[in-house]
């Protein structure tokens, strides 16, 4: 459990989170490893885990029925995947595939929500991080769709 706390503490998403909160969420955490080509999640599946990526590279893909999968983002060391899983209904809206050996901590979403419900201070800390992450995602998505490199 302690090594999981240390792993989470070292991740940018949880940077600065007080040790007591890390202790609270550690029981929701498990180490997960994905080999190249393995999927972390599939669209429409129930979103049970929130992934805190420590090492590797993950392609976030949208499947087009005529055109096949298209990669819209890659994630790597220091990123998280599955923050939308916190919103009901808890379903993935994307596929995510490990492009190389990827190591992460998987946090059980329901367990995490329950902890936040029990301790609102923890909930607020996670909400701040979630909001920051969301803001960054919005910013980069806006740049990405505007065809920044166009003529």
């Amino acid at each position: 459990m302690e090594d999981l706390e240390a792993l989470l503490a070292a991740h940018p998403f949880f940077q600065g989170l007080a040790p007591r909160f890390l202790r609270l969420i550690a029981p929701c955490a498990a180490r997960v490893t994905f080999n190249a080509g393995q999927f972390l999640c599939h669209e429409n599946e129930e979103a049970k885990q929130f992934f805190v990526i420590h090492h590797g590279r993950v392609a976030v893909e949208i499947y087009r029925h005529r055109g096949g999968p298209v990669t819209i983002q890659t994630l790597g060391d220091g990123d998280v995947l599955g923050w939308l899983g916190f919103l009901k209904p808890y379903h993935w809206h994307l596929d995510a595939r490990a492009m190389e050996l990827t190591r992460a901590v998987g946090l059980d979403v329901l367990c995490l929500l329950e902890k936040c419900q029990q301790d609102h201070e923890l909930g607020y800390e996670l909400l701040k991080r979630y909001a920051h992450y969301l803001a960054v995602q919005f910013r980069v998505t806006k740049l990405q769709i505007m065809d920044m490199y166009g003529k």
Partner: protein, 299 residues
């Protein structure tokens, strides 16, 4: 430049006359004839032209970041950055995207045809002054072309710099310039290269996302890093913002700007940006010198 000091100045003709021969000085408005040696398609609308003087002994000495006015005879002239190796001045290399009459005429030249060249013009990347520092190169789209001479320069004097890192973004994998060269650079142990595109098919092996998203991954020591940026205005604006967030000072960031040009000599005023002429005082500027003018919509 001592590490941790203020950032270097851009290279400037007056400062470095002994290092450069300035062919434009004698007859700056008269183009010299160069022959097209090779035309290479980089992307569906972008071509790299290699030019040489009819007398192969004559070259064109330039500094990384400078540009030439290229003249497609009978059509017109356009400012185009030099994208070749400054240590091989006998070959003049330009990478050109077809956007209008002049660039289209230039891109559709055949080997053996003549092109007029005036230059080299402008201030350059402060590659010599950056020695002893880490160098971060951030390029977007066609912006890799004016940066490539700086990369050649850094790599041929690799021991003089700390870490060297290149971040390059384009719209799709098909829009990347110099793909084979990028592969070679990625294979080097003394260079970190991150390539990213906005969207890619699932067999794409590297990053997808905007260049700014990769900046936090750069091993950046803000007190010892000099950053060279070139790409579309929006990309540079957001990249500068992110670099400042990461602790880099404004005087350690250099940007290459584009404006419409006519004379290339600081005489006609076409390229004026506030108090500076991009052709003469730039196109490479230290960010703090132009920041007040970059985001103004009315200039």
């Amino acid at each position: 430049m001592k590490t941790g000091d203020r950032g270097p100045e851009t290279g400037n003709m007056e400062m470095s006359l002994d290092a450069l021969i300035h062919p434009a000085a004698a007859q700056p408005m008269a183009p010299r004839q160069f022959l097209v040696q090779n035309v290479r398609r980089e992307t569906p609308d972008t071509f790299t032209l290699t030019l040489a003087r009819p007398n192969p002994e004559e070259g064109l000495i330039f500094a990384p970041g400078q540009f030439n006015m290229l003249y497609a005879f009978g059509v017109g002239e356009a400012p185009i950055s030099i994208s070749g190796d400054p240590d091989r001045p006998h070959l003049l290399v330009h990478t050109i995207r077809e956007v209008g009459n002049v660039t289209r005429a230039l891109c559709h030249q055949k080997p053996g045809r003549a092109i007029g060249v005036r230059g080299p013009f402008g201030a350059f990347w402060p590659v010599a002054e950056a020695q002893g520092n880490d160098v971060l190169v951030v390029a977007g789209g066609l912006g890799l072309a004016p940066l490539r001479p700086a990369i050649y320069y850094l790599l041929s004097r690799r021991a003089a710099y700390g870490s060297v890192e290149i971040i390059y973004g384009a719209r799709t994998p098909q829009d990347l310039l110099y793909r084979r060269e990028l592969e070679r650079w990625r294979g080097r142990f003394d260079l970190r290269v991150h390539v990213t595109v906005d969207a890619a098919p699932s067999d794409w092996k590297t990053n997808v996302g905007v260049v700014t998203a990769l900046l936090p991954r750069a091993r950046l020591d803000p007190f010892h890093t000099v950053a060279f940026l070139c790409g579309p205005g929006v990309m540079m604006r957001f990249t500068v913002r992110e670099l400042l967030n990461l602790g880099l000072k404004e005087d350690r960031i250099f940007v290459s700007l584009e404006r419409h040009m006519k004379c290339g000599l600081g005489m006609c005023g076409h390229c004026q940006l506030g108090p500076v002429f991009v052709c003469k005082d730039g196109p490479v500027f230290r960010y703090d010198r132009v920041k007040d003018w970059l985001d103004r919509r009315e200039v």
